[in-house]
């Protein structure tokens, strides 16, 4: 329906002045309502309507520059005395005090305050209202807490866009790995970190050699910069004298610092008598003078030093397991372990996957090396004795961590499953006997509680994206520091469930270790019996040639390869099945890609297996 109103005007009348006049309203169009359309409407009751009265606001975000804060102290001198009285003069102060005491106001106030105070003091004396009630009940609650850990500090130093207030990073442009961490022995508020680049021959020219001591209260600037002549690979505080640190350098020298004397080393060992390879392990010895330390490196030597005289080592040992002392046969040492309660014995983890236990006090060279434990496919990156059971030690290398007992030399008593990434470092917890920590090359920190669960870590935390290279637990057992490949050191605080001793834990752990050790011993005994029997049989039947199918090395290789792939395929299928059950099909593609990567990773392990087979067959 169109409503048109036409307004006409003669052309000659355009432009005339308007003269408006009033006239009554005139209906132009009248459209009556159409009742038939009323049915199309639905009555709505109630009707929601809203009203808002608010002032207009706008949101704006600003990120300020990180402010560097410095703590300073203020010396407060006794003040408040009136001008004419010199606070140093005893007579004047006494006189002033006596005057005040006679003041009436003073007396009244004291009376009033005195009664008030008396009341509270009496309260205190009557009942101790803050005592621990229900002390027993609290213990039961602790077990239910799920294990967790939270980051309390990240040490790195570039200007960061993190909103975390405390960040500590390596202040240099070329990132270096944090290869070793050492906590200050007394206060645990300071952390010494050794930075170096462990890539072979990739030292850039502008890479600095410095290593730092960080104070946890001041994460922006290192407390002390240590300037060695070559980057430090390992660094340790002297447990007896907390100002002294010893460091092992990348070029094989040893240097020691006194923090009171500044950043340059007090003394450096001479190059000719030092190691020929980076010093991977440097530990202080327990001695009366507190100045002895020893070091190990991949050149196969273990050297003992007295830091007062670093011009030559006091003792040397060549890690040759054929016990002939030949440097050519020596195994390269990657980690060193020393337990202060057993001062003459120490252990070395080697690049070849063998752990050597040695006795320092032995007279002949042959006796120096007491026993060897081989069980890792790759270098043993970490070696630690259990602080509660010195006979049990943990080795970390290749893709798993193994727990050994000193008595069983052929195989570990317990081990973790094989992971997808290399394990780089590990250590025991200082408070709980069955808990240990490991770091992986995918940036994850695992906390294992072997009493609770042996298949998986109790807690697995992704700390950062780059590989973690070193790990160190603070002496109280609650804070752990991990260093990464790019030089970031992260400090994590572990939930109290993982760092407080549970009831019966010691007895349970003892029982567990004994059980496993016994099991291994029985297995070892059986193996020995079987071998003896074989030998007896072969000796008795000299004329009869053994009907063993003699396979050529090639056939052995082929057979192993086939078996290996079969095992992998079975495992992949099992995993695919497990995951298709849980995840919708959209995720299967991602899992498939991941499995392929895992398969590839495992295939690259094949050349190593081949080498081993060749060695065995040869």
């Amino acid at each position: 329906m169109e409503i048109i109103y036409v307004y006409t005007r003669k052309r000659s009348e355009f432009g005339r002045p308007c003269s408006f006049s009033d006239r009554p309203a005139k209906v132009s169009v009248d459209i009556p309502p159409d009742p038939s359309m009323a049915s199309g409407f639905i009555l709505r009751n109630p009707v929601d309507s809203y009203v808002q009265h608010a002032s207009d606001m706008s949101e704006h975000e600003v990120n300020t520059e990180r402010v560097e804060v410095e703590s300073r102290g203020v010396n407060h001198v006794e003040g408040g005395w009136p001008k004419d009285i010199n606070p140093q003069e005893v007579e004047q102060t006494i006189r002033f005090r006596k005057k005040v005491e006679k003041d009436e106001n003073y007396i009244n106030t004291i009376m009033h305050l005195g009664t008030l105070m008396e009341h509270c003091v009496k309260q205190n004396n009557a009942i101790n209202i803050y005592e621990e009630y229900f002390g027993e009940e609290e213990m039961a609650e602790v077990e239910d807490e799920p294990p967790s850990a939270k980051t309390i500090n990240v040490i790195s130093k570039l200007t960061s866009f993190f909103d975390v207030l405390l960040s500590k990073r390596d202040p240099n442009v070329t990132k270096r790995t944090a290869t070793h961490l050492s906590w200050h022995p007394d206060t645990c508020k300071k952390l010494a970190v050794a930075y170096s680049s462990l890539e072979f021959q990739q030292n850039m020219k502008d890479m600095s050699f410095d290593s730092y001591i960080w104070d946890l209260e001041n994460p922006n600037k290192p407390e002390l910069v240590l300037k060695p002549s070559s980057p430090l690979v390992s660094l340790e505080y002297n447990p007896k004298d907390s100002h002294v640190l010893v460091g092992g350098c990348y070029n094989g020298q040893m240097a020691y610092w006194d923090t009171r004397k500044g950043g340059l080393p007090v003394e450096v060992s001479t190059v000719e008598v030092s190691h020929r390879d980076p010093v991977y392990g440097a530990i202080w010895l327990q001695s009366k003078t507190g100045t002895e330390c020893f070091s190990a490196s991949t050149d196969g030597q273990v050297l003992w030093w007295d830091i007062r005289k670093l011009s030559e080592p006091t003792e040397t040992l060549v890690l040759d397991i054929t016990r002939k002392g030949l440097l050519e046969n020596a195994l390269g040492a990657v980690t060193l372990e020393f337990e202060p309660t057993m001062p003459t014995k120490f252990m070395v983890g080697t690049e070849q996957g063998i752990v050597i236990a040695c006795n320092r006090k032995a007279k002949t060279l042959a006796e120096k090396i007491t026993s060897t434990y081989s069980g890792h496919h790759g270098p043993v990156y970490a070696l630690a004795r259990n602080p509660f059971y010195p006979k049990i030690f943990l080795t970390v290398g290749d893709w798993a961590a193994r727990i050994w007992s000193e008595e069983t030399k052929e195989s570990p008593i317990m081990w973790t499953k094989y992971h997808l990434s290399y394990l780089t470092d590990g250590c025991w917890s200082t408070v709980r006997p069955a808990v240990f920590f490991t770091t992986r090359s995918d940036g994850t920190l695992d906390i294992w509680d072997f009493l609770f669960k042996q298949n998986d870590p109790s807690l697995s935390l992704k700390v950062c994206d780059e590989p973690l290279s070193s790990l160190r637990l603070q002496d109280n057992g609650c804070v752990v520091g991990c260093g990464s490949k790019l030089g970031t050191v992260t400090l994590l605080e572990i939930s109290s469930g993982l760092c407080t001793l549970q009831r019966n834990e010691k007895t349970l752990a003892t029982a567990m270790f004994e059980r496993e050790t016994k099991r291994e011993k029985i297995l070892e005994a059986r193996h020995r019996e079987l071998r003896l029997k074989e030998r007896a049989r072969s000796e008795g039947q000299e004329t009869e040639v053994e009907e063993k199918p003699v396979e050529s090395p090639h056939e052995v290789l082929d057979r192993t390869r086939r078996e290996f792939f079969k095992v992998i395929e079975v495992e992949l299928q099992r995993r695919a099945q497990a995951e298709t059950q849980h995840l919708p099909s959209a995720f299967q593609v991602k899992d498939h890609a991941r499995e392929e990567a895992a398969a590839q990773g495992e295939e690259s392990q094949l050349p190593k297996e081949e080498e081993e087979e060749e060695k065995d067959a040869a």
């Binding site: 106001n105 003073y106 105070m117 003091v121 205190n124």
Partner: protein, 70 residues
């Protein structure tokens, strides 16, 4: 604040007096910020080693340090 009468040695007393004076001021202003009609009558700080009790007044401050019962 100036110690008028004390049973401890001077340096400790001076330290306690100075620090607790500021703390009492702060506590009193906190109490009055929440309720202007209110005022601080007594302040008790219990630490691991002892209990410090402070009774403030307009001009003077009475401080008592006590060993807890346990």
């Amino acid at each position: 604040g100036i110690p008028i009468r004390t049973t401890l040695d001077n340096s400790t007393t001076v330290q306690y007096a100075g620090l607790l004076h500021h703390l009492t001021m702060k506590a009193r202003s906190t109490v009055r910020d929440i309720d202007p009609q209110n005022d601080l009558t007594f302040l008790r700080i219990r630490s691991k080693k002892h209990e410090i009790m402070v009774a403030p007044d307009k001009e003077y401050l009475l401080i008592v340090i006590q060993n807890p019962c346990e």
